[in-house]
């Protein structure tokens, strides 16, 4: 306890940042995968030979999930009030970086989904 320095509630915001990074980019990846997957399946009924080429949007959307995973792991291993003082500044910084990654991943995933669905058809 004597080595625990920084503000008490700062880890709340830090952990929420890690959560936001993963959850929102998962949302984007899921939307992209699902929407373009439905397009691929509908197109595949007419032209089965083009299905394997059309998996590209799905792979792009999956990569967004990996981005969120990386940021979430970096943030959550950076919250260590025993090793390094964790002030509210650090907590808010982690929260905003997690939100930045997550919401960007969400929008990218939605874009990939809509474009992938229209493009493969």
């Amino acid at each position: 306890m004597s080595t625990f320095s920084g503000d008490e509630t700062a880890p709340f915001f830090g952990f929420l940042g890690a959560a936001a990074a993963l959850v929102f980019s998962c949302m984007g990846a899921a939307y992209g995968t699902a929407k373009s997957g439905v397009g691929v399946a509908s197109m595949g009924v007419m032209r089965p030979e083009l299905v394997m080429k059309s998996i590209v949007p799905v792979v792009m959307a999956g990569v967004l999930g990996i981005y969120g995973l990386i940021i979430a792991v970096i943030i959550s291993t950076g919250i260590n009030p025993k090793a390094k003082s964790y002030y509210l500044f650090d907590g808010y910084a982690h929260l905003s970086s997690g939100l930045a990654c997550g919401l960007a991943g969400l929008s990218a995933g939605m874009a990939i989904g809509i474009v992938g669905d229209a493009g493969v058809r």
Partner: protein, 175 residues
């Protein structure tokens, strides 16, 4: 009682870490099961409808249902792991910074796992339903659309990985 250093802290410091932990554990299993159920009903209704005209698709497409079910199992596993991380501390130490941090870590871990599994279950369900419908038209498409479904189910694994990494941060003050 620990001091508070900002306006948010004044409110957060009053809440027991056990509240946050319990809510986190409940969300991890509850919302994961919601995602699995949602995915299963999306896939199942398409599957049953398509099987009227093409009964051969039923046994193969149960794989999609199993992918959705796996998401619920991830939620159960993480809920069990998180609840073994709960320890009782003497009441003088409940509001210490270290136990507050432990409570927040369990809460965030539960949210991550629950909501990642929710979206994974939804994604796998939607793709599973289109897999069933395209399989009914042309059986060579089944394996190809299954590849897309595997990409979707990886998202639930991401949630589990981060949830476990974050739960390693949980350390309550010693008595």
């Amino acid at each position: 009682m620990a001091g508070a250093s900002s306006s948010w802290s004044h409110a957060l410091v009053q809440i027991s870490p056990y509240t946050f932990s319990a809510i986190g554990i409940a969300i991890s299993i509850g919302v994961s099961v919601l995602g699995a159920a949602w995915g299963i009903y999306i896939t199942g209704s398409s599957l049953i409808g398509a099987a009227i005209k093409a009964p051969r698709i039923t046994s193969k497409n149960l794989i999609s249902i199993i992918f959705c079910e796996a998401v619920a199992i991830y939620g159960v596993i993480i809920a069990i792991i998180l609840q073994t991380k709960l320890e009782s501390v003497p009441s003088s130490k409940i509001y210490e910074p270290e136990s507050l941090r432990a409570g927040y870590a369990i809460f965030a871990s539960g949210i991550i796992v629950g909501f990642a599994n929710l979206f994974c279950g939804l994604c796998v369900g939607i793709i599973g339903s289109s897999c069933a419908l395209s399989d009914a038209q042309n059986s060579s498409l089944f394996v190809k659309i299954l590849v897309i479904e595997i990409f979707g189910s990886v998202l639930g694994l991401f949630g589990v990985i981060v949830g476990i990494i974050m739960s390693a941060q949980v350390s309550w003050p010693s008595k």
